[in-house]
Symmetry: C2
Subunit: 148 residues, 2 copies
DNA sequence: TATGAAATTCACTCCGT
DNA sequence: ACGGAGTGAATTTCATA
């Protein structure tokens, strides 16, 4: 993991469709060398996968909310994880230190669907309360800057 | 935007490196037809870009926190946005309805860097307080499911 | 680990339907 | 909108240093 790798990661995050030749130009290396470096970054798990970024509103998921979930028992275990993973509107789920047990990020299409989602959250074993933060506008959501 | 497009979006989110021939097989269409559909999804902005998913811990950003930012003035304007965008550790910034004005997602390397980041947040014009939620473990972070 | 070139596969375009 | 074929460009592999 040197500066060349970090430059490659930044370039790939910005546009993963560019050719190895284009990447090679940015780091002054041959295409073969860049190919090998990217292969290793994938192999090591530094690059987890190549994806596309989908506009949420275009697929009927224009409502974003964060929910703090309170519980009467320890929720940092896998049954909880699986219960949350079964809800497709839950984009992220984190075990937290602070005023609640879990923090989940939810994307739905309408306020009614948000209400329905909260109802489902309450049905998860151990959940005793929720505090919902509704997003009015997202300033930005951006990829990780690989520079320390 | 029909079921074929949604299937293509899901497939591309799972692995954007696969060939058009492989995508075509999943939707029982020719490579030419798939190529045209994906081109239109990009053109319409449904697909915003193609990126790589980088493991945060591998680039020295293993500490995740969410911060509720309280303010003494309306913060839903662009000077605020720009001030937050200037902080590379801020991954997301949202204007919210609820107990605070903004919600930001932060990735840093160490608890010390988190402290330094909070100090910088306080220096943003109008900020009067923060409530920090530190993530102990992330259950999952996943892409948008394009099915309604 | 890098280079440069060879071999193979793929993206992209065009045209017919 | 879809299918199929053709062409140029890309990925991928390999020999060499």
């Amino acid at each position: 993991m040197d500066d060349v790798d970090r430059t490659l990661l930044a370039a790939l995050q910005h546009d993963a469709t560019q050719s190895y030749a284009a990447l090679a130009g940015q780091v002054r290396l041959s295409t073969g060398a860049v190919h090998e470096r990217v292969r290793k970054l994938r192999e090591q798990g530094v690059v987890r996968r190549t994806t596309v970024d989908v506009e949420p509103a275009a697929v009927g998921r224009g409502v974003l909310a964060f929910v703090l979930v309170e519980a009467n028992a320890w929720m940092g275990d896998h049954p909880t994880r699986d219960a949350l993973a079964a809800l497709p509107e839950v984009m992220e789920a984190h075990v937290i230190a602070g005023p609640a047990s879990l923090l989940v990020k939810i994307r739905v299409g309408t306020p009614e669907q948000l209400q329905a989602s909260l109802r489902r959250l309450f049905q998860v074993e151990g959940v005793t309360g929720t505090q919902t933060v509704v997003v009015l506008e997202s300033f930005f959501e951006r990829p990780l800057d690989p520079y320390p």
